[in-house]
């Protein structure tokens, strides 16, 4: 069984009297260790799909198995626990806590973890992740003292703190210049190949999608084509 299995996922938003269908029956399988890029124009429904895959939202209809577990019917608290354990998020706008050091930003998701770790273990884990993303000398820096690329690297370290199975990146390069862009994508590839983390990346930039091993095109709420390199 694949890590992510989406079967005929539909999502309809209700705007007043009008039903607005966004996803109209998406079926997608992502197996363990894949690096998938999700491409599509804006309004195509790729972000909605990403939210459902990330357990932030529930589909209106259809089934979603994550790691062999049907999760489309879970309530908010159960989904929160699942997100904490299984999924790491990287956002376009980094979303680091202001006036909080890089180290504390990385440690933040551990507060909601069920794991029983001592403060020292938590700190060690965060430090080693920051070392991994090349920020060993920036532990105490505040987000405002870091460049955009460094901030995004902190965000990646944060997404990895609970050893997730899936890393979801929503336009991670949208706010970065091309050079840091390349560095970041290299880092993601590295994580995928050496650590075996399954990565889903949403983008509208074909250059970014090239780094992925498979590209899924989505248009008007349906999967248009799926290309593997």
């Amino acid at each position: 069984m694949d890590l992510i299995e989406l079967h005929d996922i539909r999502k309809t938003y209700r705007l007043g009297e009008v039903d607005l269908p966004v996803l109209m029956g998406v079926s997608l399988n992502v197996s363990r260790g894949e690096f998938v890029a999700l491409m599509g124009s804006s309004g195509s429904g790729k972000s909605t799909l990403m939210n459902i895959v990330g357990c932030l939202d529930r589909p209106t209809a259809g089934a979603y198995w994550l790691d062999g577990r049907e999760i489309s019917k879970l309530n908010a608290s159960e989904r929160a626990r699942l997100r904490n354990r299984m999924i790491g998020f990287v956002f376009q706008t980094f979303n680091l806590l202001p006036r909080t050091s890089a180290l504390e930003n990385v440690m933040m998701p551990l507060i909601y973890s069920r794991e029983n770790l001592t403060d020292n273990q938590k700190k060690q884990r965060a430090v080693s992740l920051l070392e991994k993303v090349g920020l060993a000398d920036r532990l105490d820096h505040l987000p405002s003292q870091l460049s955009g690329g460094q901030q995004q690297r902190v965000a990646i370290a944060r997404s990895l703190i609970n050893h997730p199975q899936v890393l979801l990146a929503d336009e991670p390069t949208g706010n970065l210049d091309s050079r840091t862009n390349a560095e970041l994508l290299q880092m993601l590839q590295q994580l995928n190949s050496s650590d075996g983390i399954t990565i889903l990346i949403v983008t509208h930039d074909p250059g970014v999608a090239q780094h992925a091993r498979r590209t899924v095109y989505i248009k008007d709420g349906l999967i248009e084509q799926s290309l593997s390199i």
Binding site: D57, A76, S77, A80, F89, N95, P109, I111, Y112, R158
Partner: protein, 457 residues
């Protein structure tokens, strides 16, 4: 999510905006400080009022003998001779609700000093405890007579301002001798002026001496004996006879009974009796239990059977006590109102800022939810923040309030009294304010949709 983690997160969030945290807590600081200061001033005032009331005799209970009833004629309360000094000793020993006891022997007779004479309203033989009961222990001059004087029936007395004015004028009375029925009493002290009591009786028109001296050397019998008028009319004849050291009016304490009467109703033998026993309860609230304990004790000591009526009567100062309790109650309620208003205002301030904070931190909330915070975690985090805010405010308020009441005492010379209760209540109330007024913003935060929250600009 661990409790410790929540607390740390909340503290971090508060630390990130120190200035706002301080301004938010200001409402609670002022509220709690106001409560503490007002309570302490109120306590001080109420203690001062209680003290004043006590000096008026609010805690005082008077035990007087019952009414003699002979041949169908009721002689009124005080006409029986049933109370003894031993009763007074037993009361202080066996009634825990009674603070102090003084037996009283009354007399009404002339005082002579030099070429002046005067008849005081109150001429009491008693013990030094009398001064304690009437809250009169700080004398204007000299000192009170002692238990030793009482035991030895020493001829010493202390007098009130009115008597000083009547007999001595501008002279100092200390060390002078006043003659009472030809017995010379040395004045050892002068009582502080007290003025008239509620009935308009001059309380300074008083002479206090050891009850033993008054009893054995002056009256030699109780004036409240049934045939009172007889005793008084005898005075003018005998007092002026200079050859007499001791009063010659030796009355029989008990009416002489015929031999038939004696066999029919054997009279208990009493060596001496007192006219009344003045007692003070430990506090106003203990008055009922003091009365009950004394009733049981005296009935037992007087060998009264169940159907027998009491041969004594205990009177309390209901009017004064009521005035006192209603005054203190009023003060307490007034302060409670002030406390409530200021704390509610402070609480609304907290709610206001928490709502702003939730809006401002919408993205943070969205992020926390995305990385795995359940709605209950968010609720708890914001609730903890509000409670921590209020507790910080409460602590600072307590310190501010304590120093404010200290300043009030030292600058304005108002009486204040530290109140542990007020501090405990303030801490409790400020925590509750945090929970009550922090709940709505926290609930609002927990209901946010993570997707919308993450996109919030």
């Amino acid at each position: 999510m661990h409790r410790y983690g929540i607390l740390k997160t909340s503290l971090n969030a508060l630390r990130r905006n120190v200035m706002r945290t301080m301004l938010t807590t200001l409402g609670i600081v002022i509220g709690v400080a106001a409560v503490i200061t007002m309570t302490e001033i109120g306590n001080g005032a109420s203690i001062a009022i209680q003290r004043t009331m006590a000096s008026m005799g609010a805690n005082t209970l008077v035990v007087i003998p019952g009414a003699a009833n002979t041949g169908g004629i009721n002689f009124g309360f005080g006409s029986l001779m049933t109370l003894t000094p031993q009763d007074a000793d037993a009361i202080i020993e066996e009634c825990p609700a009674v603070r102090s006891v003084a037996p009283i022997v009354r007399a009404r007779t002339q005082l002579i000093f030099g070429n002046r004479n005067y008849v005081p309203t109150y001429l009491y033989g008693t013990t030094p405890a009398f001064l304690d009961i009437r809250d009169w222990t700080d004398l204007e001059n000299g000192e009170a007579f002692t238990e030793h004087d009482v035991r030895n029936a020493n001829k010493v007395c202390i007098i009130g301002r009115t008597i000083v004015r009547q007999l001595f004028g501008e002279e100092s009375p200390i060390g002078k001798e006043i003659r009472i029925r030809n017995v010379a009493f040395k004045v050892v002290g002068v009582l502080r002026a007290k003025g008239a009591n509620m009935m308009g009786m001059d309380q300074d028109d008083i002479l206090l001496a050891p009850w033993t001296t008054i009893k054995y050397r002056v009256v030699a019998s109780s004036l409240s004996a049934a045939n009172q008028s007889n005793t008084n009319t005898g005075n003018s004849n005998e007092v002026n006879t200079l050859s007499q050291i001791y009063p010659n009016l030796q009355q029989n304490l008990y009416p002489v009974a015929s031999s038939t009467e004696q066999t029919d109703t054997p009279q208990p033998i009493r060596f001496t009796n007192v006219d009344q026993i003045l007692t003070a309860a430990q506090s106003a609230s203990q008055i009922p239990s003091a009365m009950q304990q004394m009733t049981v004790l005296l009935r037992e000591r007087h060998h009264l059977l169940i159907p027998d009526p009491d041969d004594f009567n205990i009177r309390d100062m209901t009017e004064i006590t009521k005035a006192m309790s209603s005054t203190t109650e009023l003060i307490t309620k007034l302060l409670l109102c002030v406390a409530m208003i200021s704390l509610v205002v402070g609480g609304i301030g907290i709610m206001n800022i928490m709502l702003v904070s939730v809006t401002e931190r919408t993205r943070e909330i969205g992020l926390r939810m995305a990385v795995g915070a359940a709605p209950s975690d968010i609720l708890r985090q914001f609730l903890t923040e509000a409670v921590v805010l209020c507790l910080i405010g409460g602590t600072m308020g307590i310190m501010l309030g304590r120093s404010a009441s200290y300043i009030v005492t030292s600058v304005l010379h108002w009486p204040t009294a530290a109140s542990v209760g007020a501090i405990v209540v303030s801490v409790f109330v400020s925590a509750s304010v945090g929970v009550i007024f922090g709940f709505y913003p926290a609930w609002k935060a927990s209901r946010l949709d993570p997707i919308d929250a993450l996109r919030y600009e």
